[in-house]
Amino acid sequence: MTSLGHHRYSRHVLDRLVEGATTPGTFLGATERDALRRRLAAVPTLERRRVDAWFVERGATASTAFAWNPSRARRALGRGALRRLAVDPSRTPLAVVTDEILDHLARAATGYVGSGTLAAYLAAVDGATRALCAAEAVTWATQTGEAAATLSYPWTIPPADPYYDVSGARTTLRGQRDLVVSADSGRVLVRVRAGAPGRSAGAGLRVDLLVDALADPAGAPAARVVGLWPEAGVALSVDGTIEDLHAGARAVVRAVVVGRRRALQPA
């Protein structure tokens, strides 16, 4: 049976969810990886596929071409800012976001950044747009930082999201995690999401759980994945059980199949 916990947000809910996580009694070995590869390879594609929780939650609906805007910049800037804040808690969210933006601008000034990067975007936009990016990032970093500050366990901001390239299936799985908490039972991942959780939010969290386990060299899953929706005041949790990993893999395969059917339908 899969696990999905629904909790109202309160000051100590995150700490309780970390405390209640149990050590996973399973791991993803070569057999499981190969089974997933075969399933995904059986769904042909001409282009390289990128599958993440959002793709699964949206029922394999193709998203429009990515373009940076202040809302999309908030997580990237906010995470960098939060990492700086963790190093020096005496600083303000605004100060660390400003440093983060200046870092991106300095990188863009070297001329070695790609045209689609956040650094290139920040360097190209006017001062008003850049300030809106800062405002979005400050709000994100403050909310996430306040949630993290309620934890009694050590936590870190991971430097990057986990990726897993499924060999021979032209598919890349991408997970997301904003905080990694070192609990007694193992690592607990926390994702901060916008809006309110939909009916497929649990499937999205299982995809994050799966990708994180696949990206782990030993295939060890996180003890728990917690999705935090600050706007809705809701936290959902999924445990690192074999049933949840299987459910995550099924959700990925189902989304890829649906995406393939959609691609074959005449426009």
Partner: protein
Amino acid sequence: MSPAALSPVLLALRGVPEERPAVDLDAAAALRARLEAAARGVARATPALEIAAGSLRARRSTPAPVGAALRGLLVTSALRLVAVGARPQPPAALLAAWRASEGDSPLALASDQLDAHERARLESDVAAHVATLRARLGRVPAAWAPRTAVRAHQRLAGGAVVLRDVVDLMVGTTLGPSAAVSLLDVTTAPLGEDDERVARYHALVQTLRTATVPLRSAVLSTATGDLWCIEVDAATLERAADDLVAIFAAPVMGLAA
């Protein structure tokens, strides 16, 4: 930043730190239970009854003209810039920044259709409101952790009722032993009696969202510079719940969004 350097608006939001009440972490559950019970009465409504702060402003229940809607959005953008200590930007730059991030929403497309005369009028209007905003608000201390455009989305009775909210400016921490979060709504219209309901609504939704009762909730008019600020306590939240229960009971009155 010393209190002497704070604007009257910020001083009102801050209150007297030594006199702040202990943070109330228990009120949310009772309020939610009451609202859930009342919302069950509209549980058959399809689609969901959606309520936003604007719904409580009865005089603005009809869709605002494009110019007024854009003016509100641009003044809110200016507030976001003030909150991060950015340099003042001309209204044309605010409009361009908002337009670039808005995509193809109906309002964004409508903004493209403004002629030169309408655009000039909008820009001068926004400039006046932003001047009032800057003069009244002053510089927001970064140590207050100002958050802008803070959204909330609360479902009641299994989604039959949805409470939506956007607080223009939120300051203070939710983590301290005393209530320290203050909310500010900025409106480009003169203040009316509905704005008191809006201030209460912000406080209620924030309480439901974070399970932490805020300290104060305020509404600032950039048309007149007036500020209404209320202390948030149990009575305030009960009145806010009364307002909502009244809407649940009479969704046909045109108050729902």
